[in-house]
C-alpha cells in the first residue's frame, strides 16, 4: 500500500502527503471548534471540485465555466435521496405538498434508494459531460467557444431549476435535511465524522488526479493543451483525450456536490449558477493552475477569505474576488505555486553563492 502510494507521489511527496493528511484528519478535529470544522469541511468539498477543474483547465486547457452544473447534479441527487428518506407519511417531501403535488414524480422515485442515488451523484454528471464534451470537441470547438457554451449551460440549468418549482423546490432549493442514513446531522459528533469522510475523499481524489497527470495519458493531456493540432498530426485523437479529462472533472464536481449536501444541509440554484461556477475557478488560479496542491490550497484560502470578509464587510468579498481575478490572472498567472518556486530558486541560488564576488569591470569579457 505504502509502496503503491510512493510510486504516485514520490518519496518526498509521500512524506508531505502523510503529514498533511495527519494534520487534517487528526490535528484539525481536535483543535478546531464545531463551527469552524464544519466550515473547513465545506471548503474541502469545494477543493474536491477544484482538483477536477485543475485537471480540465490547468492540465487540459479546457476552461469550464459551468462546473456548478455538475456540482449541482451531484448535490441534487444526494438531496433528493435525503428528502425522500425523511419525507412525511405520504412519502412526499415537504416542498412538494406546498406546491400542490400529490404524488412523487417518476424521475424522483429511483433516488429513494441509496444504491441508485449515491452512484448517480457521480455518474450523471459524467454522462452529461461526456455527451456534451464529445459533441463540442469532435467539431474542434475549443478555447473561448467551449467556455461560452459551458457558461450557457450553467445559465440554462439554473433557470430550469428555478422554473420547475414543484419538482425542484425552485429558488429555495432543497432545505431542512436533518438526517443522513439515520444519523442526526445536527449532532456535532456526526458532523465531525462527516468532516473526516470529506477529508479522506479529498485525499483519494487528489491521489487519483496525481496518478492521472503523471501517467502517459496525463502527458498526452498536457500536450493537447499546448498544441492540439500537433498531437493530432502525431496520430492521436485529441477529442478522446479531452472528453475523458472533462468527464473525470465533472465526476469530481458531482462527488463534491454530493458531500456538500450533508455537510451544509442545503442545495439551491444560488450555489450553482455562473457566479459560483466562476468562484470555483479563482481558487485554482490563485493556487497556481496545473499544480494539484495549488488548487487545494488556493480554494481553501479563497473560501476562508470569503467567509471572514463576508462576516465583516458584506460587499468587500465581491471587490476582493474581482481584484483577485484581475490581479492573479493578469499579473501572476502561475499563482502561489509560481511565487513559491521563485522564492525557492532564489533561496537555492543564495545558498550556492554565500558571498557575492566582486568582479572588476576589466575582468569581464
Amino acid at each position: 500500500m505504502i509502496d503503491r502510494l510512493r510510486s504516485v507521489t514520490g518519496r518526498k511527496g509521500l512524506m508531505a502527503f502523510l503529514t498533511v493528511g495527519f494534520v487534517f484528519i487528526v490535528v484539525a478535529p481536535t483543535v478546531m471548534s464545531d463551527f469552524r470544522l464544519n466550515l473547513l469541511a465545506k471548503y474541502l468539498c469545494f477543493a474536491i471540485a477544484a482538483v477536477g477543474i485543475d485537471l480540465s483547465w490547468g492540465y487540459g486547457g479546457m476552461l469550464t465555466l459551468g462546473q456548478g452544473v455538475f456540482f449541482g447534479i451531484g448535490g441534487y441527487s444526494m438531496g433528493m435521496f435525503l428528502k425522500l428518506a425523511e419525507a412525511g407519511p405520504d412519502g412526499l417531501p415537504d416542498f412538494m405538498s406546498y406546491n400542490g403535488l400529490t404524488e412523487v414524480p417518476a424521475f424522483w422515485k429511483p433516488f429513494a434508494s441509496a444504491a441508485v442515488a449515491l452512484p448517480a451523484a457521480v455518474i450523471l454528471p459524467m454522462l452529461l459531460a461526456a455527451g456534451l464534451g464529445w459533441l463540442i470537441f469532435r467539431q474542434r470547438i475549443r478555447g473561448p467557444y467551449f467556455a461560452i457554451l459551458t457558461q450557457a449551460l450553467a445559465a440554462a440549468f439554473v433557470i430550469l431549476l428555478i422554473g420547475q418549482q414543484g419538482y425542484t423546490a425552485g429558488t429555495n432549493g432543497l432545505t431542512n435535511m436533518t438526517s443522513f442514513f439515520g444519523y442526526d446531522l445536527n449532532d456535532p459528533v456526526n458532523q465531525r465524522t462527516l468532516y473526516v469522510v470529506v477529508a479522506v475523499v479529498l485525499g483519494a481524489v487528489f491521489l487519483l488526479a496525481r496518478q492521472i497527470v503523471s501517467s502517459r495519458y496525463g502527458r498526452l493531456l498536457i500536450a493537447v493543451r499546448d498544441g492540439e493540432d500537433r498531437v493530432r498530426f502525431l496520430g492521436y485523437d485529441p477529442t478522446r483525450v479531452k472528453v475523458l479529462a472533462f468527464t473525470v472533472s465533472a465526476g469530481m464536481a458531482g462527488l463534491a456536490g454530493a458531500l456538500f449536501v450533508p455537510v451544509v444541509g442545503i442545495m439551491s440554484p444560488a450555489l450553482l449558477g455562473i457566479v459560483p461556477s466562476l468562484e470555483l475557478l479563482i481558487g485554482v488560479a490563485l493556487g497556481g493552475r496545473a499544480t494539484l496542491v495549488g488548487a487545494v490550497v488556493g480554494t481553501v484560502l479563497v473560501n476562508y477569505a470569503k467567509t471572514s470578509l463576508s462576516e465583516q464587510i458584506p460587499s468587500g468579498w465581491l471587490y476582493l474576488q474581482g481584484a483577485l481575478f484581475i490581479g492573479v490572472v493578469a499579473f501572476a498567472p502561475r499563482g502561489l505555486a509560481g511565487l513559491w518556486e521563485a522564492i525557492s530558486t532564489w533561496a537555492r541560488r543564495r545558498e550556492r553563492r554565500p558571498t557575492p564576488q566582486l568582479i572588476e569591470p576589466a575582468a569581464m569579457p
Binding site: L132, Q321, I326
Partner: protein, 293 residues
C-alpha cells in the same frame, strides 16, 4: 393569429436587442480574440447613465440625449479597459475572459454601492406610449423604436465597414493581423477604435433596455449569455452572421416560450445551438482562411 404575430414581434424585438449587444462582442472577439465578460456591465453603465440623465433633464425628455451620452461613456470605459488590462493579454483569450469577469464583479458591486441594490425605473417618454395595431395585435411603439434604433446601428456599422477607410482597415486586421501591420496599418489604433465602437453599442443597448424594464446592477448578466450564443452561432466578426443569428435566436426563444414554459425554452435554445454547431462548427458565416487555428 394575433397572438402569433405579437409573439413573433416580441421575438424580433428581443433579437434586435441581442444583436446590438452581440455586435460589440463579435467584433472584439473576431478582431482581437478577446472575450469581454465585462460587456454586460457596459450595458449597465449605459442604462444607469439614462437613469441619471432622466433625473437631471426631467422624466421622458432625455431619451434622445441619453443614447449618444451612453454610447460615449460606455465607449470611454471600454477604452480604459482595453488600455489598462486587455492589451496586456492579447493571445491569451481564456485569461482575458477571467480578467474581464473580475472587472465585471467590481463594476457590479460599485453600481450596487452607488445606486443601491434595488432596481430603479426610467420613465419612457410620453411619445412612445401606445402602439401600432397590425392584424389584431398591438405592436408597442417602444419596441418599434428599439427596432428602428438597431436597424440604424446595423446600417451605420455596415457603411463603416464597407465604405469608409477606417472600416476597411478594421476588416484587414480581422482577416490577417500580421499582414495588415506589414502593409502599414497601425493595428493598435484600429483595435482601440473597434473597442470604442463595440463598447459604445453596448451602452446604447443599455438605454434601449431601460424602455423595456427596470434597471439593476445585474442588468447586463441577464443578456450577456444569450449575446455570446449569438456570437458563437453567427460566426466571428461577421455582420451578416450576427444579424441572422440574433434574429433567429430571438424568434426561436419567443416561440419556444409560447409553446412550452420560459424555463424550458432556455434549455431548448441551448440544445438548438449545440445541434447547430454540429452542422456548422464555426458558425453561420465563416471568414475563409488558411490559418490552422
Amino acid at each position: 393569429m394575433d397572438i402569433l404575430v405579437s409573439q413573433l414581434f416580441t421575438g424580433l424585438s428581443v433579437g434586435s436587442v441581442l444583436l446590438l449587444i452581440a455586435l460589440g462582442l463579435t467584433f472584439t472577439f473576431g478582431q482581437m480574440g478577446v472575450i469581454n465578460l465585462a460587456h454586460g456591465e457596459l450595458i449597465m453603465v449605459g442604462a444607469y447613465s439614462a437613469f441619471v440623465l432622466g433625473g437631471i433633464a426631467g422624466e421622458g425628455a432625455s431619451l434622445l440625449v441619453a443614447i449618444p451620452v451612453a454610447f460615449f461613456l460606455a465607449g470611454c470605459l471600454g477604452l480604459v479597459l482595453e488600455r489598462l488590462l486587455i492589451r496586456r493579454l492579447y493571445g491569451r483569450p481564456l485569461d482575458t475572459l477571467l480578467v474581464t469577469w473580475g472587472v465585471s464583479l467590481v463594476l457590479q458591486q460599485a453600481a450596487r454601492d452607488i445606486f443601491g441594490a434595488p432596481n430603479v425605473n426610467v420613465k419612457s417618454p410620453p411619445w412612445l406610449d401606445g402602439g401600432l395595431v397590425v392584424a389584431g395585435a398591438t405592436l408597442p411603439y417602444v419596441r418599434l423604436f428599439i427596432l428602428a434604433m438597431v436597424m440604424a446601428s446595423v446600417v451605420g456599422i455596415w457603411i463603416y465597414m464597407t465604405r469608409l477607410p477606417a472600416g476597411r482597415r478594421m476588416r484587414a486586421v480581422m482577416a490577417n493581423r500580421q499582414l495588415a501591420a506589414c502593409s502599414g496599418i497601425a493595428t493598435d489604433r484600429v483595435d482601440l477604435r473597434t473597442f470604442f465602437i463595440g463598447s459604445g453599442l453596448a451602452g446604447a443597448a443599455g438605454v434601449a433596455l431601460t424602455l423595456l424594464g427596470p434597471v439593476g446592477p445585474t442588468l447586463g448578466t441577464n443578456y450577456i449569455v444569450d449575446a455570446f450564443l449569438v456570437v458563437v452561432a453567427g460566426g466571428l466578426g461577421q455582420l451578416r452572421g450576427a444579424v441572422a443569428a440574433a434574429l433567429a435566436l430571438g424568434v426561436l426563444s419567443a416561440l419556444l416560450e409560447f409553446q412550452t414554459q420560459a424555463s424550458l425554452a432556455k434549455v431548448l435554445v441551448f440544445v438548438a445551438v449545440v445541434a447547430f454547431l454540429q452542422v456548422r462548427p464555426q458558425g453561420l458565416v465563416v471568414l475563409r482562411s488558411r490559418a490552422l487555428t
